[in-house]
Symmetry: C2
Subunit: 187 residues, 2 copies
């Protein structure tokens, strides 16, 4: 996200951002991403195109900002009673979402935009959710593997498959890698 | 790469493709990617803009095609005498290239373009180089680990780091993962 587009909550600037983001989401839903133009978004949001250009630079930066906002976790991972089941449930849900059409579109918008901080945010969101699961596990007296190991052994290979093999990772593929990281933690 | 843009070598269609690709590469070098427009590329290549739109659809598809062409390996991996040193040398070079500015730009062009087969090609090129190293190893009587394992343990985590952490993987990070896959093969 650009520094310019992270305004003080509630201010005029924040209201403009909310209106423009909402216009993008509405137009994306109504007509897909191909038809999106800055003038159409501006008209829908009730701002001038130059407001959008001044603030976001171009359409790609705006779409990447909206994608990052959508990638942000809405709630902490579900507490299912153990580190093992919390982590598996979160992984299955995350990769189900990321490999869906909207998930792929978000990844495209974030990874295709030069100089956008969205990819780093995407990684931060993943770590944040994994750390929430780990902290709960530590509080229960469990010994969870590190977030780095989970990312290296499970998240990275599944993301590679989504991005480069255009494959929707089957739940089984998630489970195989999940067992590997659980075993790596035991040794 | 679009089906439309893989013409019979030497034909008129192939000559147009070569001229347009060359114009893109020249303009990218002279003025970076920001200034690139279809009319400027057409003018440089000596074709009309409508030739480009008809053939590639839009600028993003054309840039992704050019990126895929640049990602294609120019030669087989160097033969350094053993599977171990061949694979390490290739990994170090590949990730040095992919994490450079031109490498990142190619990944952005490929991963940011909807419905483009470039990402799959990128994976195929990686497998092709790894298989060439493996075949040489088999001919020497060595027992190389599988390409799938190399991609899962070494390539995917390094690619994740380039894409999401915007980090240039240090040679040391490549070597640590390389040792892991070599050990995984022993067990």
């Amino acid at each position: 996200m650009n520094d310019k587009s992270a305004p003080r909550p509630g201010g005029r600037s924040a209201r403009i951002q909310a209106a423009v983001h909402q216009a993008v989401r509405a137009l994306q839903q109504e007509q897909g991403r191909d038809g999106l133009t800055v003038p159409a978004i501006a008209s829908r949001a009730g701002v001038t195109p130059s407001t959008i250009y001044r603030r976001w630079g171009d359409l790609a930066q705006l779409l990447a900002d909206v994608a990052v906002e959508q990638l942000q976790p809405e709630q902490p991972p579900t507490d299912t009673g153990s580190f093992r089941s919390d982590l598996l449930a979160w992984l299955l849900q995350y990769f189900d979402e990321m490999s869906s059409s909207p998930g792929r579109a978000m990844l495209r918008d974030v990874l295709g935009t030069e100089g956008h901080a969205g990819a780093g945010k995407c990684d931060s969101f993943v770590r944040q959710q994994i750390e929430a699961i780990r902290e709960r596990a530590l509080a229960r007296g469990e010994s969870p593997v590190t977030a780095d190991l989970i990312i290296r052994i499970v998240v990275a290979p599944l993301m590679y498959r989504i991005l480069f093999a255009s494959e929707r990772p089957a739940a089984q593929a998630v489970e195989v890698l999940f067992e590997q990281v659980m075993n790596a933690g035991d040794t």
